[in-house]
Amino acid sequence: MAILDLAGANQSTVSFITNYGHRLYSDDFLVQLDHCFGEGDFYENQTNPRAIETFLKNTLDFPDEAFDGALVWDVLEYLSPALLAIVVAKLRAMLRPGSSLLAVFHNEERAETVPSYSFRIHGHRTIEMASRGRRQPAQFFNNRSLERLFQDFQSVKFFLTRDHLREVIVRR
């Protein structure tokens, strides 16, 4: 299987995925976001069509149905609504029918900034979250807005977890 991981390459996740014999495509989505939109107003820059085009080419330039799973983690929180819709549509196209996508969203609706993490899979029951500082999210999501966001997918499941996080597993 081919798995997409947008948390940035780390030893734990690489070992976990590849020990099953799967192929892993790894990229650090937040680094790419900062690289393309970091100078000036981060969210205002995300409305620039040329910057969006460059970002998509750098980050999500894959053929349709290239992956059997996607580990998106918390990166969708840092996309402006316009870019978010494009990215989710692109992710859906990149996934094979029946495959799954894992995303994480913060629960704290009133917080101005939320902790950003590097997620590392240590085993079937353990995910390590290494702090990457705090970031201002573009918007907050409740269950209804998440259902709308992934409305083109087959199913959406929510899991409330510790650390004010909501895990979302979406089936293509």
Binding site: A9, N10, Q11, V14, Y25, R120, T126, A130
Partner: protein, 212 residues
Amino acid sequence: MSVWNRRKEEEFITPRPVAGPPAPSELAKEGIPMSTLPGRTSESHHEPARTAVLGKSVIVKGQIFSREDLTIDGEVEGTVELQEHRLTIGPNGKVRASVKARELVVLGTIHGNVETTDKIDIRKEAKLVGDIRTARIVIEDGAYFKGNIDIVRADAARPAAVPQPQPKPQAIATSPSASSPSSAPSASSASGATASSSGPAMAAGAGDAKKR
């Protein structure tokens, strides 16, 4: 006098010839190929193997093919191939090339696809953009990697061994120094004997990490 002491005494009384450096003719008789002596000595004392170095002010455009370990601390554009050897990209190294080696250590930057038969070691603050095909990989915290990781098990990484017809046992043993090239072990079989386990090593987690 005890039996133990008697043996010691006997050893002492019957002096053995002083071991000096063997004459070349003796070596040939014992069947020790002379050319392998320095290599064995260096391995046993863990002396660093010979390594070629491209310094940080060196720029190479084209094809590099090396039969020894190589360190690149300059800039390279093209292809780099080290069949059975280790390639190190130094902290100042910038490589825009497809790379093939036995082992790769990255401290600088690589843009290009990488294929190794043994291990890739991406150190802290290194940057590798390209697809990786290797038996083992180590990624330190702080390294940046973008691309595909395809772990190829050590037995699958090498081409399947073609069954060779077994040579008939000869009545007279030939000394290695006099042996023909066809009787020498091939490089591929020698490297196959040193293949290590194919499971990726685990790195230590970050100190400020949370677990849930």
